[in-house]
């Protein structure tokens, strides 16, 4: 027997699941494909370029950080975690974002939010959201360059593939186009500004930007995000606790205020299908490294994100609160984990 010669015998267990970290990360990427297609349909090829810039910068930063720490590069790059970070950051950015902003965000996400804390597995904050927030507070204007969705009855003024690419690379637009003419406020933005101007929800919703629940086009993307999310749940890549907690927290707090005063507080459906709520619930909050680890803890963590998102959207100065909510809840994770430790088998205190 060959083992007879080996001084070190293998230790039990002798079987392992084939699902490794790269497999999990690849599945997350697959699950984002439907959302990517829907996104591209409604907003053009901006996202594809964003992804290219973000992923390239993420991989380069990851390799550079590992090199500086003299850690093996090949195996760390092969786990796809930097790719996922880049892709998620790209999803959060508007289609018309100059490439260097995207790359900067990606570099911040990997270099500061991830490697400054010790690399994959040790980061306290969700890298993609940390990168997004860094960009949001540094370049607030550039991050509002959202296009109107491609729907027949909105006065749609599209931008071609090449024109989009050119803008990202050089910031220039074809003759006759201006940024102001091209871009539109997002439904969340519009709702927040108009409510601030003392208008009623029903009035605001008359705008052609709004669909059945959230923004037109946006709600369709939401459906495809959820589709990918359900697939992740089905494949066991993520567990139900965080999405349920997050969406539950958001919908419950929205319902509460909607029932209290439906003229001034938009419906829970609007919140659910607007901005990054669904993407966050299935893809961002579920990042295992920066999330709570116990089942009860994950419900609390998710619910915290949902409630904070609602609070920031409703009373904050930014239209969407998902990123801030995630970062705030990231900080509470050690505390949540400590207080939700399950009672181990046979260690229950005897009832007295």
């Amino acid at each position: 027997m060959n083992a007879a010669m080996a001084a070190e015998l293998r230790r039990a267990p002798h079987l392992r699941t084939p699902v490794s970290v790269p497999v999990l990360m690849r599945r997350v990427l697959y699950a984002l494909v439907p959302a990517l297609l829907a996104y591209t349909w409604f907003f053009g090829f901006g996202l594809v370029f964003n992804i290219a810039a973000a992923v390239a910068a993420a991989l380069a930063t990851e390799a550079a950080c590992l090199r500086l720490q003299r850690r093996p590069i090949a195996i760390a790059l092969s786990d796809y975690s930097a790719v996922v970070t880049g892709v998620l950051l790209a999803f959060a950015l508007p289609p018309l974002t100059p490439w260097w902003i995207t790359a900067l965000g990606s570099t911040f996400a990997i270099g500061v939010a991830k490697h400054a804390y010790g690399g994959v597995g040790n980061n306290v904050f969700n890298p993609a959201m940390a990168g997004y927030v860094a960009l949001l507070v540094s370049f607030p204007d550039q991050l509002t360059n959202w296009l109107p969705p491609r729907m027949g009855d909105i006065d749609y003024e599209g931008i071609g593939l090449l024109a989009n690419l050119r803008f990202m690379l050089s910031g220039g637009l074809p003759d006759g186009y201006t940024l102001d003419a091209l871009t539109r406020a997002t439904p969340l933005d519009l709702m927040q500004t108009e409510l601030g101007d003392m208008r009623m929800v029903a009035e605001i919703r008359n705008s052609s930007l709004f669909g059945d629940f959230g923004g037109r086009g946006w709600e369709w993307i939401g459906n495809f995000v959820a589709l990918g999310g359900f697939w992740l749940l089905f494949r066991g890549v993520i567990r139900w606790h965080i999405p349920v907690g997050m969406l539950g927290g958001l919908v419950l707090s929205a319902s509460l205020f909607y029932l209290y005063d439906s003229a001034n507080f938009p419906s829970p459906g609007f919140h659910l299908f607007s901005g990054g709520a669904l993407l966050c619930a299935f893809f961002i909050a579920t990042d295992p490294v920066s999330a709570a680890t116990t089942d009860r803890g994950r419900l609390i963590y998710g619910a915290g994100i949902g409630v904070l998102t609602y609070l920031i959207r409703t009373w904050g100065s930014f239209p969407d609160g998902v990123a801030f909510a995630v970062l705030l809840m990231n900080m509470t994770v050690p505390l949540i984990d400590r207080y939700t430790q399950p009672v181990a088998y046979g260690t229950r205190e005897p009832r007295s």
Partner: protein, 505 residues
């Protein structure tokens, strides 16, 4: 204890545990075969941690099959029986299966090929009429130990002072590949039930349930048929979901009764005793034929075996004999594992003897077991805590083991770890968890003992300081009025009084 129902016939589906490809059908297509009589057996004298038996025979002695050849003075499992007849060739150290290559003192017997039964090996009488204590004594003298893998002395488990209200006969063999208990139940269901009945009497308990897994319908049907035939209302069958490690003793207790065995305790502490089905069959065998524990059924299986099958082998027979009985190896570079792939021990070769704990010999073809693969850092996915049957947080435990923080390990209940290997199995980062926990448990025990000693030393030191301080104080206060002095003054006063009365003269 007359609760109407002590256990679930259809226990809940556990949230913990893993589903692993069972691969039991590899070895269940053919009936149990008897291995040819070995030409030599090697019986280890080391029966467990701190249980070392003394040989009662000398090299050159002739021994009969079933004759006690070694005794243990303490504990109930007090004999090792010869598993063949022949001459004692030597008493010398030999390799035994264990974690890493291990060597222990062994009695080596050369077979005379006759298999002559010892004269004492006759049924001791109807077990239904024997006293419980006598039953336990006979079981101990037959060298019967738990055949599920833990080799705990059966008589010890059947004795004890706490009341028992349920005997679980464990046939829920949850490890992949292993099918020896399933085949035993299929072929000898009546014997299992008979053994269960005898153990009930030895326990003074009136309820026994045989636990089988949901993926062994043939075994359940055989048990059901045997149960219908003997109409004993005290016996029953329960079916647990086929999920690893549902057949673990503590897990089975929880699934069947909802009770939890306290950490560091035994099922006995919650009124339950678990015995393996093979142990029950061995007890029945003892009382029906008089034969002590000299053999066991071993699943010889895996891609490296030509004809995987369950083999009934004499204890002490070389594993190579079992491989031969199963058709031999298919390739030359197989991995040998004693036990299943989840908790089994890798073996260095097939020159080792069959012991009471050998429930399976897994001969894995190259690539059949998972090879060491590149590991990634922990991503805190918590799959390990989702599958942990002890509801631990392995990802946190691993950090605490790395930093060697004894208080944190205590707080995370490292002791409740049953080393089932589920966390390693699901870990997408391919981290080594169970072996680290096993080592940390040993360190933790040493640490606790040190703490205990430190507390005692502290008490003694404080007592001494208090004593010295008290002595110091006495010295500083000067000599206290002495009781003797007081008595003397008293006496002198009385003498004076007497003199004054003048009744001296």
């Amino acid at each position: 204890m007359n609760q109407p129902l002590l256990y679930n016939r259809q226990p809940p589906r556990p949230a913990w545990g893993v589903r692993v490809d069972p691969r039991k059908t590899l070895s269940t297509s053919e009936p149990i075969v008897a291995a040819p009589l070995p030409t030599q057996v090697q019986l280890p004298l080391e029966l467990g941690p701190e249980r070392r038996a003394q040989a009662v025979v000398a090299p050159g002695d002739y021994v009969y099959t079933g004759q006690p050849v070694a005794r243990l003075e303490t504990g109930a499992r007090n004999v090792v029986c010869a598993s063949i007849s022949g001459r004692v060739a030597a008493i010398r150290p030999g390799p035994i299966p264990g974690p890493g290559p291990r060597v222990a003192e062994c009695i080596v017997i050369d077979s005379d090929g006759q298999d002559r039964r010892h004269a004492d090996c006759v049924p001791a009488g109807d077990p239904a009429r024997l006293a419980a204590a006598r039953l336990r004594e006979l079981i101990a003298q037959a060298g019967i130990v738990g055949l599920g893998g833990a080799v705990f002395p059966t008589a010890d488990k059947l004795g004890g002072s706490q009341p028992v209200d349920l005997l679980i006969v464990n046939g829920a063999e949850c490890e992949p590949y292993i099918s020896c208990d399933e085949m035993l139940m299929r072929e000898r269901a009546a014997q299992v039930l008979d053994g269960a009945r005898i153990m009930l009497r030895a326990l003074g308990c009136d309820r026994a349930v045989v636990a089988v897994e949901s993926d062994m319908p043939a075994a359940r049907l055989a048990l059901r048929a045997a149960l219908d035939a003997d109409r004993d209302p005290r016996l029953d069958i329960a079916e647990v979901t086929a999920k690893y490690p549902a057949g673990g003793e503590r897990q089975l207790v929880e699934l069947l009764t909802g009770r939890e065995v306290p950490a560091g305790g035994l099922p006995r502490d919650v009124g339950i005793v678990c015995q393996n089905v093979a142990t029950a069959a061995a007890v029945s065998e003892l009382f029906r034929t008089g034969c002590p524990l000299i053999s066991r059924i071993v699943t010889v299986t895996g891609g490296g075996i030509l004809n995987p099958v369950n083999v009934e082998a004499r204890l002490g027979a070389p594993l190579a004999d079992l491989v031969a009985a199963a058709g031999g190896y298919t390739t030359t570079n197989c991995d040998l594992v004693m036990g299943g792939p989840m908790m089994g021990m890798a073996l260095a070769g097939d020159r080792l003897p069959v012991t009471e704990a050998t429930n399976c010999l897994l001969v894995a073809a190259p690539g059949e077991l998972s090879d060491a693969q590149p590991g990634y850092p922990c991503i805190r996915c918590a799959e390990c805590s989702r599958v942990c049957p002890a509801r631990l947080l392995p990802q946190e435990l691993l950090v605490a083991c790395d930093t060697q923080d004894p208080d944190r390990l205590e707080q995370l209940h490292l002791d409740a770890c049953i080393e089932c290997g589920c966390c390693d199995y699901v870990c997408p980062s391919r981290l080594t968890l169970t072996p680290v926990f096993a080592q940390a448990k040993i360190r933790q025990r040493a640490h606790r003992e040190q703490q205990r000693q430190a507390r005692l030393a502290q008490q003694r030191s404080e007592a001494r300081n208090a004593r010295l301080a008290a002595a110091e104080k006495r010295y500083a206060d000067g000599p206290a009025p002495d009781a003797g002095e007081a008595a003397l003054t008293d006496l002198l006063a009385r003498v004076e009084q007497r003199d004054e009365r003048g009744d001296g003269g």
